[in-house]
């Protein structure tokens, strides 16, 4: 950590200890969230999420393919994340690094573990042919908390996704005109915490992320249960902090759910 960052960290930590933050928010205040759906016509589903100045676009594509051998009658979900170089001076072109792989896998876990998609309804012919849902997360502007914004955008895009109608004729799949919506059962919402100077804050923005000790992301499903979790960063949490975070996450997810009417 550079000297300047260390001074910054002290300043931010002192503010948080007093119950406020650099951008004026309280410790558990979320930034303003805006969701737009259906912004990319070529994609089967899409959404743009603005979380403060963080901007994410998610597009989904639906194709037919083979199921995994251990789940012969279930469709396939594939999540990928691109940290596009235009989003931040710290992103470089090239194959996905560990940060983008981790981001994609956290988003994937929230959707998969909450069983958000009724994957059995994506089966065309058991063991042979199923629908494959590609979820591509595109980070367009990085101002912190990419995880929550990406998870929100991915679910919004899935809710907006249409699947082609089809019929099976003599073993071949024929696409018919018209669409049906993707069978969605759950709308998981992910809440991320940063630990700075032994205090937890919700929805860290970039300056806070740069000085945080560690990070904890918690995905909450429609029933208020926890369905995925991930700690990140080279710091630690106490047992009490982890349990406190789980409770706050449940409240925050409920708040967002109400606002979005999910």
């Amino acid at each position: 950590m550079s000297i300047v960052t260390r001074i910054r960290q002290k300043q931010i930590a002192q503010l948080i200890a007093k119950g406020t933050r650099l951008d004026g928010r309280g410790p558990t205040d979320y930034r303003e969230t805006k969701i737009e759906q259906g912004i990319i016509e070529r994609a089967e589903g899409s959404a743009r999420v603005l979380l403060g100045r963080t901007e994410i676009v998610v597009g989904t594509k639906v194709e037919t393919g083979e199921p995994f051998s251990d789940t012969p009658n279930e469709g396939v979900l594939t999540v990928n994340a691109e940290l596009v170089p235009l989003a931040s001076s710290t992103f470089e072109p090239g194959p996905p690094d560990e940060n983008s792989i981790e981001l994609a896998r956290i988003v994937d876990r929230g959707i998969r573990e909450s069983k958000a998609i009724d994957t059995e309804k994506l089966c065309i012919e058991p063991g042979k042919s199923v629908f494959v849902i590609f979820v591509d997360v595109y980070v367009l502007n990085h101002d912190g908390n990419l995880i929550d914004a990406s998870a929100l955008a991915a679910v919004a895009a899935l809710l907006n996704t249409k699947m082609p109608n089809y019929e099976v004729e003599e073993g071949t799949v024929k696409i018919k005109p018209g669409y049906t919506p993707l069978p969605m059962r759950k709308r998981p919402i992910t809440i991320t915490f940063a630990k700075i100077g032994d205090k937890l804050i919700v929805d860290p923005w970039l300056e806070e992320e740069q000085v945080m000790d560690s990070r904890l992301s918690i995905a909450i499903d429609d029933d208020g249960s926890i369905c995925a979790m991930q700690k990140g960063g080279a710091g630690y949490f106490t047992q009490e902090q982890v349990i406190e975070a789980a409770k706050i996450a449940k409240e925050k997810a409920e708040e967002i759910r109400k606002k979005q009417n999910w």
């Binding site: 950590m1 550079s2 560990e98 249960s225 369905c227 700690k231 990140g232 630690y236 349990i243």
Partner: protein, 246 residues
């Protein structure tokens, strides 16, 4: 295995005969590789995992070195023969993510500011996998760091808890992990009560999560006792041998 087969019976006994809060048998050896600066081997259930540490040493490539601290790198890798169906030796996305979370689980235990401009590499090879490999890897890797003589705040001990059917249980084996409801891997620095790894997948209420974290932490403390014993076996016997030679 058929879906009707119970993972835990009415008496609360699991398929391998364990109770809900029982670990699998854990065996750890320290200093098993002569070329590494530190190493450890762990067997937990059917898991067989080797961890090796090189460093602190000059960073390669040099431009990755940091002026005010050491750089910790970690590679978690599964052998192609470690699982039922051959795994391609190329690193998968899962392995890249696990390498990152394992590194972040070990890093808080090391005084990284004490070694500016240097690097430490942790290499983990899973020779056989039986569920809970990330936890067993962390327990072994932390001992390998200690074996390399690198100053540490505490050992890192790791263990998972989870839920099968309606019961929260400790240290899931492969079938329990795959057929169960949820899995919560935890890594802990026992003397500092600091959680350095926490992941979860599956469905848990907040109350069940609290139970799982507490159970996993207890599991970590049990692993810690085995880790300490493994260090003593290497270093206390080595010292005794030295004394005998004199």
């Amino acid at each position: 295995m058929s879906k009707t087969e119970k993972l835990i019976d009415k008496k609360g006994v699991r398929q391998d005969g364990r109770k809900f809060d029982e670990l699998r048998s854990v065996k750890i050896d320290v200093g098993v590789l002569s070329n590494a600066d530190g190493s450890a081997y762990i067997e937990q259930g059917k898991n067989k995992i080797l961890a090796a540490v090189f460093g602190p040493r000059e960073m390669h490539p040099k431009h990755l070195a940091l002026q005010d601290r050491m750089v910790l790198r970690c590679r978690y890798h599964m052998a192609p023969f470690s699982v039922q169906e051959r795994k391609s030796p190329a690193p998968s996305r899962r392995e890249i993510e696990l390498s990152k979370v394992i590194r972040e689980a070990i890093e808080p235990s090391i005084f990284i500011d004490n070694y500016p401009r240097t690097g430490i590499d942790i290499f983990i090879e899973v020779l056989q996998a039986d569920g809970g490999t990330r936890c067993a890897s962390i327990s072994a890797a932390s001992l390998a760091v200690a074996d390399a003589g690198i100053p540490m705040r505490d050992l890192v001990s790791s263990c998972a808890a989870g839920k099968v059917e309606d019961t929260v249980i400790l240290d899931l084996m492969d079938t329990e992990d795959k057929m169960g409801v949820a899995d919560v891997p935890v890594a802990l620095m026992p003397n500092l009560n600091a959680i350095t790894l926490l992941q979860m997948d599956g469905i848990l209420t907040t109350d069940e999560f609290e139970t799982a974290v507490n159970l996993a932490s207890e599991g970590c403390r049990k692993i810690y006792a085995v880790q300490k014993e493994a260090l003593k076996v290497k270093y206390v016997t080595a010292k005794e041998e030295e004394a005998e030679e004199e």
